[in-house]
Each structure stands twice: as C-alpha cells, then as structure tokens.
C-alpha cells in the first residue's frame, strides 16, 4: 500500500513541478472555463437578465468542457517525449501511476472550481455560500467521478488515432450520471428554498458512482495501457 502511495505521490509532485514551470495547462484551462461561463451566460440572457435556474447547469457544463481540455493537454504532454512509455517501463505499480495522474487533475480542477463558483455566484446571484459544505461535497464527488473516467480514457487514447475528438465522444456519455447528479444537486442548493435533503441524495449517488468507477479504472488501467 505504501509503495502505491509513494509512486502516486511521486507522479503528482512531478506533474506539479512541470506545471509550475509554465502554468500552461492551468492558465489555458481557467481562461477557457471562464469563457464558457460567459458564453453560456450571454446565450441564456433574456431582456438583459440571465434566466432563472441556469447557474447550476452552466457551472457543471463549464467544468465538463474545461476538464476535458485539461485532460487532453495533460496527456499530450506525456506524449511529447514519450514519457508515458517511460512510466510504464518502470517497475512501479501501474494503478499507482493512474492514481497519481488522477490526483493531479483533481488539484487542477479544484483550482478552476475555486474561480468558477464565486464567478457563477456573482453573475447569477446564486447562493453559493448558503450551504458551502454541501456544495463543496457535490463538487468534490462530481469532479472525482468525471476525472476518474476521464483520466483513464485520456490515458488509453494517448496512442490512438483521432484522440482529440474521441476523448469527448467517449467521455461525455459515460459521465452523464455525474452531470445529472451534479446539476440537480447543485440546483437543489441554489433554489430559493434550498432542498438540502435532495442535494444529499444526489451526493450519495455521486459517491456511489465514484466508488464503482474509481475501482473499475484502477482495475482496468494496466490491461488497457499494455499492448
């Protein structure tokens, strides 16, 4: 177990170090996420005022789009000098490599969410600080579900043709349960009379999804990555 964590931590630190040199993925992902929110906000404006109840949806859509972008960019980096193969060459536990990559993506998405949530709150008068614990839990569980599947798919597509378009094609249908639960749960929190119980139900569903798919991803990472 400790070897697993050690390797995962190594990978995370390496990814962090690489990212800190240029902040390329973080800045482009953040910018893109903000742009998506703005585009949707302008799209849904009616008589100069944003439509009611779209805040939750726009937040999660922006996260899904920018998450896909971040995943693609992160693994494109590993393609550059074929370093993903170097990782596979090492005697390290393969699922640990996956876990490390996943942790890196989660950190990145957490930063994006830290920017988007206040932004959405501001632009749509959404009560983001009403139940911050619930909202944070929903975001955490939803992001984990999305990233768990996304990291696996992005990794397995690294050597495939048409990988740029195939990642969203594969990822979006697979993570619709996450989107539904995330949006509906967040919407329940943003309602004038927040429905905490409903949000909790969707949170539970998300946690269950996470448990199933993280396990599945850890289990299938090695066979999918070896040729």
């Amino acid at each position: 177990m400790s070897a697993f964590l050690r390797v995962a931590a190594l990978v995370v630190r390496k990814d962090l170090t690489v990212e800190v040199r240029s902040f390329e993925v973080l800045s482009t992902t953040l910018f893109f996420a903000v742009t998506v929110v703005l585009i949707f906000a302008f799209g849904f404006v009616k008589e100069g005022v944003p439509l009611d109840g779209v805040a939750a949806a726009i937040l999660w859509i922006a996260l899904a789009f920018s998450g896909t972008l971040a995943l693609g960019r992160t693994f494109e980096r590993e393609r550059q000098a074929d370093t993903l193969r170097a990782l596979m060459l090492a005697p390290a536990d393969r699922p640990a490599l996956y876990a490390g990559k996943l942790a890196g993506i989660l950190m990145l998405m957490a930063l994006v969410e830290a920017v988007l949530v206040p932004m959405v709150g501001l632009m749509f008068q959404a009560p983001v600080f009403f139940a911050p614990g619930h909202l944070a839990a929903l975001l955490a569980a939803g992001t984990l579900g999305f990233a768990a599947v996304g990291t696996l798919f992005a990794a397995m597509l690294v050597r495939a043709r048409s990988r740029d378009v195939l990642l969203p094609v594969l990822l979006y249908p697979m993570t619709v349960p996450v989107m539904i639960a995330g949006v509906r749960g967040t919407a329940a929190l943003f309602q004038p009379e927040a429905d905490l119980e409903l949000a909790q139900f969707w949170l539970a569903l998300l946690v269950f999804f996470d448990a199933v798919f993280v396990t599945l991803a850890l289990w299938t990472f090695e066979p999918l990555m070896t040729d």
Partner: protein, 235 residues
Amino acid sequence: MSGDFDHVSVVQLGRHYGRRRALTDISFTARAGAIVGLLGSNGAGKSTLLSILGTLLVASTGHVKYGGVTVTEGGPGLRSRIGMLGHDLFLYPELTARENLVFFGRLYGLDGVEGRVATALDHAGLAARGDDPVSSYSRGMRQRVALERALLHGPRLLLLDEPFTGLDQASAAALVGRLRHEQARGVITILATHDLDVVDGLLSEVVFLHGGRRATAATTAGTLRDRYREAMQSA
C-alpha cells in the same frame, strides 16, 4: 521477484497488427557483455523488437526469456533490470536534468538517489548544467541525460533505439565509450541503428532485419557496411 539474468533469448518472435506483419520468426540469444546490433532500414521492425524486449509490447507469437523467465513470470522485478533509451528520449523537457533523474530514480525505488544522480551527471559531463531545464539542451546533451536515465538503476539489459541520431562525432565517440564501459560490467546491450560506420567494431553480434525478418550475410569478414549490403540483397 527481482532475479537477475545473464542472457536473453528471443525465440521465434513474431508480432503483427491485423494483417501487417511487423516481425516474423526472430530468434537469437544475447549473453552478458554482448553488444547486439539490430540493423535494418526504417520499418524493418527494429523499434517493435526493442519494445517487445523492453516489455512495452506483447509478442503475437514466440516469446522472450530473460535467463529462462518470461515477461509474465518476471513481473515488475524484471522491469527493474531493464533500461531503455527510446527514440524520443523519455525526458520531461520542463524539468532539469537533475529533476528528471531524481524522479526516475525514486520511481525505480532506488536508495541514495541524490548521490547516484550526482554521479550520473558527472558521467554525462553535465554536472555544471544539471540544473537547467532539459529543453535548453542540445540533442547530444539530452541524449547523454537520457542514457544516464536508462542506466541509473543499474540494469542488466540495455535497449537503445537509434542512439546515434543527431550526434556529432565527439558525442558519438563518448557514447561508444560509455557502452564499452557497461559492456565490461556485464550489461547486455541491444541497440538498433542504421549508423553502420559508427558501430562497426563496437558490436559483438549483429542481427540484420529486413521487412520484419532476419536476414543473414554469408560472410563474417569485411566491414559492417559490406555485410549489411550483402544481407539485404539476399533477403
């Protein structure tokens, strides 16, 4: 299982992608201290063979045995005895040479990583520039770091894919020197190249590849280039 081995046997190895044959019926054995050259033009199957030897690809037919142990039996312990220098060098350009080496050293679970890395940088003659990002290096410098990365964990089997590409004479000579040094330590080196003149005299054995198959030259005399030409003609 982290068993060491003293020879590598390739037995009737084949690899295909759908209808395309990349390798057919390749067999040879390499012992400790051997430097085996895989010679052939592009598309002959050299990289595929190296990938299989490095456990990155699975053979379609035949097998490879590392001192009598197959890949599945060997597991992660086997990978710790193999070092590979890929065509794309396997280095993170944003990290410094030192950071690259330390990362891979820790990934391989080595002790005293810092010390080993310092020695490695000395070997590569890059101690002074060890803290510059690899992206600022020339091809030759990157090659040297990549080689040290492959050797950091003291592997028994060293696999090199086109290591002389883009190297000037001095760097090529330095690489040859390093390979001889490893040879003396009993490392099995298998290198793929089409720089025949550089490796003439370095190789202890030669495997000529043409269209995924092994080609043989009747004579063992003459320059490597002559033998290569003969092998390709008879293929």
